[in-house]
Symmetry: C2
């Protein structure tokens, strides 16, 4: 009886801290979409909002870390339970980094409002951002539901983001060669694309946490579909 | 009297867990250098050694996490002390990821032993790996010494790694266009270069932890020198 009481109160704590992760995830998803939106619409006000919004994300990470530490101190979890609590700390760390990248995109966008548009690259960046946002959503759902299949699917999809990044990189190179006046804008846009690619990396890391948590195994191979993807964008010319 | 006893035993615990971080860091540094070495010398045996060595690195991460959890349970650290213990968990997580990338390089190298050499790219990859290894060494020294200046220096140097990566990317594209029989080898080498670039990202993350730990601030800007680096490798043609 006593033990089942302890277990269920541990579960309640876990649910509460996971709810905070979902709340943080929601803010981060929003920041990704807003960052892409402000880029496409050249919207400096929205960019400022994205930058300022990062404070709330950072605050949630701190709160999640404190809750996780409180759980460790109170419940002294071992083995699998400890891995679960540590996953909370790691996932909130990943989310915090993704939020940072959104903030940086906001900053770059403010600089870009003074520069020429570079073809349809802003639209391509938005598609890339939407893919990452969808992956993040699925990774967090996989986490809450402890769904390894869904996590593996997210993990595999990162290769598509890499491919979009390489295609964009190629477009920037072309625009820079065509007209040196494009160089500054291309450099900013390239960093934005690179930030989104790195967001994808952090989402993959969340997916790996889920796989590890449920199966005790770490995905061992390089990501499967990536193998022939990103350089081929160049190779096919 | 009692309080100073508690403080110093907390310090002893912290020193012990930091010693484990340094040990783990040493293994990871070695794995980076060995991975690059086996690539340059086409050494399948060393590649196998790198792959197998990753188990020890993973084992250390687990031990560090358990020690950190024990410290939290025992000492119930708050605020700054809690941040310190959490940094242990985060840094060991970064080290574990870097070790994974070394392992993947080992695997790719085994596949590459059957393929044509691609110009001097293996040598360039080794230079890139050495830079990352040196950055890691400095980041861990900065961590132990709580040296913000050194950490900021590491953080800035990641841009050089990005630049090396872009220069390599360009070389691969050229080799692939010259001769389609180079494509498979170039794709493997590209992944290796990309893995090293991502190692650099994790080293940067360790440097950020140090800055945050000592100053309470997170480095806010994109990395300073990176701004005009990587695309310019292309732009200058």
């Amino acid at each position: 009886m006593n033990e089942s009481h302890i277990v269920s109160s541990y579960d309640r704590d876990l649910e509460a801290v996971q709810a905070l992760i979902m709340k943080m995830g929601g803010l981060v998803e929003e920041s990704i979409l807003n960052a892409a939106q402000c880029l496409v619409e050249n919207d400096g006000d929205l960019a400022t909002k994205v930058r300022r919004g990062d404070k709330a994300i950072d605050g949630l990470e701190e709160r999640i870390n404190e809750e996780a530490a409180r759980m460790i101190a109170l419940r002294q979890p071992m083995a699998r339970d400890l891995r679960t609590v540590l996953s909370v700390i790691k996932i909130s760390g990943n989310l915090e980094r993704i939020g940072d990248y959104s903030k940086n995109i906001g900053k770059r966008t403010i600089a870009l409002t003074e520069m020429p548009q570079i073809g349809s690259t802003a639209g391509s960046i938005r598609r890339m951002a939407r893919s990452v946002e969808q992956m993040l959503k699925d990774a967090l759902d996989a986490y809450i539901q402890r769904d390894v299949e869904m996590a593996r699917d997210v993990w595999a999809r990162d290769a598509e983001v890499d491919q979009m990044y390489t295609a964009l990189f190629r477009e920037f190179v072309t625009h820079m060669m065509e007209d040196p006046r494009n160089i500054s804008a291309c450099i900013h846009l390239h960093f934005i694309a690179k930030n989104i690619e790195r967001m994808g990396d952090h989402v993959t890391s969340i997916a790996e946490q889920v796989i590890y948590l449920v199966s005790g195994e770490k995905p061992d191979e390089d990501r499967p579909k990536g193998d022939r993807s990103s350089l081929e964008t160049f190779g096919q010319t």
